[in-house]
């Protein structure tokens, strides 16, 4: 039996999505920019998907720009905002230490080009220090980038709280909503943001496709110049099959959210969490219990090297992860847990379990069966090894 509990890394494409991608490749092969019937048909597929994606986040379809995924969307938002506003003197970028690397490394790159970057920490609850964040937003601020849901611990950030202040100072507000879209209801209007990044494969869509929502009226210097696709915002022939798949995934996500289909996932997540805390000593859940996406739990195992536990679980057929993986696929200490001010050990002994819509009660029961055994074995070996060392 193979059990997949790493949906925050990626989710398998839903069967309807697979069909939509295959159908688009087969039937809508035209270039959406072409004048002829083939082009028009592809354009229609694009527009349908655009409408579906917009509906998922309460947006106007004209505000959606398709990209290659969350990372490109974040880059577009951050670089585009900085390049647009910096010449007028707004050189500050405010972000948080718990952002995804797509944001952190982009901001770092801009710091080398003269951006005044302020990185605000989070509390142990996994929520950004809102006072520090508010204090950092000045009239010279070009952009505030605050994720909507954290990828490692699942905590939802108070994005809407800072919207008014951003507007007042003329700063654009960007949210990396990659881990939120499809897991919780997301409304761009209610959030009050200007820019929002999303990625299809995190909610059962295809990989290599995502979108950035750009509030109507927001100017953003294009980061991919070329043809006039996507209202002149992103050049390059559109990835029609993947976009069609993203459209279908968006429709399915919207149906699941409005139909309460994700409640079962939350119940299983809570069962897993409670089971671990109850049966395994020295475990603690990272991040606030409330205000999380319903599929994620991040647990520290005292006295355990997360890397070893992850491999031991994989050999039992259970796929989980820690937050960060580096270039070779090995683990490095989680920057998120560090930014939350957790002790160094936590950054090395924590595992992330992220469930999906198809996770079953039997799978969670299996995990709760093997996990205590593996943990106690690894702890015993760890203690023996420590005792034997000179």
């Amino acid at each position: 039996m193979r059990i997949y509990l790493d949906y925050n890394a990626t989710a398998p494409a839903a069967p309807e999505v697979q069909d939509a991608v295959a159908r688009a490749m087969r039937e809508d092969f035209g270039n959406p920019s072409s004048v002829h019937a083939f082009g028009q048909q592809a354009k229609a597929a694009l527009d349908e998907a655009r409408g579906q994606v917009a509906a998922l986040i309460g947006a106007d379809p004209a505000e959606i720009v398709f990209t290659s995924g969350g990372t490109e969307s974040d880059n577009f938002a951050i670089r585009g905002a900085f390049e647009t506003l910096a010449p007028a003197g707004s050189r500050r970028i405010v972000t948080t230490g718990i952002e995804h690397e797509a944001v952190l490394n982009t901001v770092k790159a801009l710091a080398a080009r003269g951006a005044d970057v302020v990185t605000v920490p989070a509390g142990r609850d996994g929520v950004v220090d809102i006072e520090a964040l508010t204090a950092a937003i000045t009239p010279e601020t070009a952009l505030v980038s605050l994720m909507l849901a954290n990828n490692e611990v699942g905590t939802i950030q108070p994005v809407d709280v800072i919207a008014a202040q951003c507007r007042q100072h003329g700063a654009l507000l960007h949210t990396d909503a990659v881990q939120a879209v499809g897991k919780i209801p997301v409304s761009v209007r209610a959030l009050g943001v200007d820019l929002l990044a999303m990625s299809a494969h995190k909610f059962s869509g295809p990989k290599g496709v995502g979108a950035i929502w750009i509030r109507r009226g927001v100017r953003l210097i294009s980061q991919a110049t070329g043809g006039r696709q996507e209202r002149n915002r992103r050049g390059g022939t559109e990835n029609v099959p993947a976009i069609a798949g993203m459209g279908v995934a968006s429709r399915l996500a919207r149906e699941a959210l409005s139909g309460g289909h994700l409640d079962a996932m939350r119940v299983l997540r809570d069962r897993l969490e409670a089971g671990v805390l109850e049966t395994i000593e020295g475990t603690v859940v990272n991040g606030a219990a409330d205000g999380r996406v319903p599929n994620t739990t991040n647990i520290s195992f005292d006295g355990i090297e997360a890397e070893s536990l992850l491999i031991a679980l994989d050999l039992e057929g259970v796929a989980v992860s820690t937050g960060s993986a580096c270039s070779s696929g090995t683990l490095e200490p989680s920057h998120v847990l560090k930014a939350m001010g957790l002790p160094q050990a936590f950054a090395r002994n924590s595992l992330r379990f992220s469930l999906g819509p198809s996770t079953t009660a039997a799978e969670i029961a299996f995990v709760l069966d093997v996990l205590p055994r593996l943990v106690s074995k690894l702890r015993r070996l760890g203690r023996t090894a420590a005792a034997l060392r000179p």
């Binding site: 070893s308 994989d314 050999l315 070779s328 090995t330 070996l381």
Partner: protein
């Protein structure tokens, strides 16, 4: 039986894994990431580089067993690199492979392996391990391929470590190993052998030591055996016992490094015949049988990897040291290198040359 194979991405460990998988074992490949692969141009590493780790991954995929890359950066720095640098700085010529084997592969990795339910740890070393029914103990033997034999690097293994060690290519020649790699369809079949010191691929050991341990001025005098200054050097870490080239001396006869004195930053040189020595003291001696022999023992001893072991009498001092007396003078006995003892085909132990 579940067996963990330490895979470097090279042909030897790949074939080791392949042979075990073929024999029906439940193989789990583990590779150690030893350095930060994304580091600056300063980045070091040739063995276990990102490409090598991917080679190991491809072998595992081709043979159909799971493979994981473990982050051993902290452990590698602490147990291997730091010690390597400080040894050089103190005028010794270390061999980091021994610590890497004993502390990383057969200690840390073995601990992890047990956690994964593995009964043994296999590597691609050219060495053999056999169980001696009479003596009720494990014996470490040279690899069958005399030219590739790597038992020298394994002298510090204990009975417990040998009990869980497998060397699947130890009974093969290098040519056989490459033939097996080809037969198994492994892409690494033609891959060249790795360098002696994996984390210094450009071979510039002195530059590496200087980057790791910056000191403003390491220069000093070169003297002959009588104490007469005959030249200047740019740091004892740039030299090793027996070295002739790069001294910048214009004496009539070729001069060799005889002694390195880091405290005085002084290098003693002399003609080749002064390079030979009959005896040495080995420290931190490991006797693979578990205990030292009761008295002086006639063995052969090897003073560096590329040295034909020479007849010697080894006398344990009752503690962890041993006195080694060769039958004939040996050239360039070098502090920091290992001296490894053999009884015929069997590697019986070894220690560090002081």
């Amino acid at each position: 039986m579940r067996v963990v194979v330490a895979m470097s991405g090279g042909v030897d460990s790949s074939v080791a894994a392949g042979l075990l998988a073929e024999a029906g074992h439940d193989v789990v490949g583990l590779s150690m990431q030893l350095y930060d692969q994304r580091a600056s141009p300063e980045a070091f590493g040739s063995c276990c580089s990102l490409d090598d780790l991917q080679d190991a991954r491809r072998v595992a995929l081709a043979l159909g067993f799971p493979h994981y890359i473990l982050n051993f950066e902290r452990e590698f720095r602490a147990t291997v690199v730091d010690r390597f640098v400080s040894e050089y700085a103190s005028g010794r010529t270390p061999i980091p492979c021994v610590q890497c084997n004993s502390d990383l592969k057969f200690q840390t990795l073995a601990e992890r392996a047990e956690g994964f339910g593995a009964a043994a740890v296999a590597t691609g070393h050219y060495a053999r391990v056999v169980f001696d029914e009479d003596g009720r103990r494990y014996r470490l033997l040279r690899g069958v391929d005399a030219d590739k034999d790597q038992s020298y690097f394994l002298f510090s293994l204990t009975q417990d470590q040998l009990a869980h060690a497998l060397f699947p290519v130890g009974h093969l020649s290098k040519a056989d190993v490459r033939a097996h790699a080809t037969r198994l369809g492994l892409g690494v079949a033609g891959k060249p052998d790795s360098h002696e010191i994996c984390f210094i691929p450009d071979g510039d050991t002195a530059g590496f030591v200087e980057r790791q341990l910056p000191v403003a001025d390491r220069s000093g005098d070169i003297v002959d055996s009588s104490g007469r200054v005959v030249g200047q050097h740019r740091g004892v870490h740039r030299l090793t016992i027996g070295q002739r080239k790069g001294l910048g001396l214009s004496t009539g006869t070729p001069m060799y490094v005889l002694k390195l004195d880091p405290a005085e930053s002084r290098v003693t040189v002399g003609p080749r015949d002064e390079l030979g020595r009959r005896d040495l003291t080995a420290s931190q001696v490991n006797w693979i049988a578990g205990a030292p022999p009761p008295g002086p023992r006639p063995l052969t001893a090897r003073i560096r990897h590329r040295h034909h072991d020479a007849p010697a009498t080894v006398t344990p001092d009752g503690g962890t040291n041993a006195c080694v007396e060769f039958a004939s003078p040996q050239m360039a006995i070098t502090p920091g290198q290992a001296v490894v003892f053999y009884d015929g085909e069997e590697c019986v132990g070894g220690g560090w040359i002081d």
